[in-house]
């Protein structure tokens, strides 16, 4: 640790450059993560709205409704089933019309069909899950129509898939770019000390003894860079990003903008450590040769 301290004091500029590189790289990844997390949150909210509605031709009796409810709720894909009577449907419609509810004056309360609203489990809230349920519903002859908006489902599935792929590709690319920059910055610090490394090997320093301070140094730089990135992301989030993202996502009906969770924050610092350490390992391979 004494040698690490001395090394850091001797090359403050290069050391700061390495820390700065880690910090900037992780800040970019942090911003991207916040955007992805919030868009995913919106996607989750949307997915909660995915449901199947089965309309009845004629009003069924209470006993039969209860029978169907029990039968449907026994299905693996279905979380709960709610019966909506003609009256309930009318009341909902009236409420939704709000100030224009007077349009319904003179219209009977039984013009809307009774229905079963079926909510699927989270894992089945996709095209495949919905279609499987619809297939089974269509076998009940009393049901006139089953509504499940297949096109919207397809688009939703595609959007979630795209988001996942974009997250992996862009995040991976950013991490790789960060690693490349960090490794090269550390290589510069090693280049500045190549004379020292050469002499260490000539006077009998073992590779581990020579490499250890540089590895600790890389790890420390990574941790400091990760912490700085966290502080930076938090500051920019509080000052700009939170309001900016809310302004964009408000139309989607989001509850609020999320910051990184504590495990994600630790993950960011850990990522800094791994970046610094890997950067040092990659660079040392070339410089320490016995």
């Amino acid at each position: 640790m004494r040698r690490v301290g001395r090394n850091l004091r001797q090359t403050p500029v290069l050391c700061s450059a390495a820390i700065g590189t880690v910090a900037v790289a992780l800040m970019i990844i942090g911003f991207f993560a916040i955007v992805v997390i919030n868009v995913q949150q919106v996607a989750q909210q949307w997915s909660r709205e995915i449901q199947v509605v089965a309309y009845f031709d004629k009003v069924p009796d209470t006993h039969k409704v209860q029978q169907w409810k029990t039968k449907l709720e026994a299905m693996a894909e279905i979380e709960r089933v709610q019966f909506v009577s003609r009256d309930d449907a009318f009341k909902r419609f009236k409420k939704r019309l709000g100030a224009d509810a007077d349009l319904l004056e003179g219209v009977g309360t039984d013009f809307l069909p009774a229905s079963l609203e079926i909510v699927l489990f989270k894992d089945n809230q996709n095209k495949l899950g919905v279609e499987s349920v619809v297939q089974q519903l269509k076998q009940i002859p009393e049901l006139a129509d089953v509504s499940y908006e297949p096109e919207w489902l397809e688009r939703f599935d595609a959007f979630v898939g795209l988001l996942k792929v974009a997250g992996i590709v862009f995040g991976g690319f950013l991490l790789f770019a960060a690693l490349f920059i960090v490794a090269n910055t550390i290589k510069l610090t090693l280049y500045a000390r190549r004379e020292e490394i050469e002499i260490m090997t000539l006077v009998g320093g073992t590779p581990l003894f020579i490499k250890m301070p540089f590895l600790i140094e890389g790890a420390l730089q990574g941790i400091v860079g990760g912490l700085l990135a966290l502080v930076g992301v938090w500051m920019v989030f509080t000052l700009v990003l939170q309001e900016g993202l809310y302004g964009i996502l408000i139309v989607t009906g989001t509850d609020g903008i999320l910051f990184l969770t504590p495990p994600q924050q630790w993950g960011m610092v850990f990522c800094g450590l791994i970046l610094g350490l890997t950067g040092s390992v990659l660079s040392l391979r070339k410089f320490v040769r016995i």
Partner: protein, 221 residues
């Protein structure tokens, strides 16, 4: 102490640095490796401290066959050697004390032991008053004396010197040669590569002459 048997060394297919080179150096010997530039003097020294491996042949140092030595054991070999270069190879950002302490730090010695040994080594070369100076604040002769102190601080079995007086004037050269003589008198085997005939004349010792990688002469005047 040192035995070389039919050692061949070539950096590329065409350029052969050493050819069928054999030599025996008993413990406590002092010998000059001499010859024109490109004769193979530096290559021979590099082979002895394990910086390069021979293409063919065997090299034994203190009973260890270093041609078969795994790379992780090379540092252990170097701890038994002291090496002095023409360009001193001192770390410019470290004080004289820190430079000389370096080999002892590598060996994991205790701090009080390091302080004691470094002070003695610097006193021996007459630099005890300049412990906290940096190499660039010293003259060439002083830097080479510091490099010798670093090479001798571990009490090595063998001292290898590659043109140690190449950059120094006559007066300083004599001071440096006295230090090598002293180390040899205390039992260290010394191999000194030089093409300075004046040194060889003033300090006559066994001479091993090389030319184009071959041993051309081996005699003691």
């Amino acid at each position: 102490m040192i035995q070389l048997y039919n050692v061949c060394m070539s950096y590329q297919k065409e350029a052969t640095a050493l050819q069928e080179f054999s030599l025996k150096v008993p413990k406590g010997d002092f010998l000059y490796l001499t010859g024109p530039s490109g004769a193979g003097k530096s290559t021979l020294l590099k082979l002895l401290y394990g910086a390069v491996k021979p293409t063919r042949g065997q090299i034994l140092i203190n009973g260890m066959n270093i041609t078969r030595m795994r790379s992780w054991r090379i540092p252990m070999l170097r701890r038994k050697l002291g090496i002095v270069f023409q360009d001193f190879k001192l770390i410019s950002t470290r004080t004289l004390f820190e430079n000389v302490a370096f080999p002892l730090e590598m060996q994991g010695k205790k701090r009080y032991e390091i302080s004691n040994k470094v002070y003695q080594a610097l006193k021996h070369v007459g630099l005890q008053g300049k412990l906290n100076r940096f190499p660039l604040q010293l003259s060439g002769g002083e830097q080479q004396r510091a490099a010798i102190a670093r090479a001798l601080v571990t009490d090595p079995l063998i001292l290898l010197a590659d043109e140690p007086t190449g950059n120094l004037d006559d007066e300083v050269t004599c001071e440096i040669m006295e230090l090598f003589k002293g180390a040899n008198a205390r039992g260290t085997t010394v191999l000194l590569a030089t093409h300075n005939r004046e040194i060889i004349r003033r300090y006559p010792r066994r001479i091993v002459a090389l030319d184009k990688g071959r041993l051309v002469d081996d005699h003691t005047p």
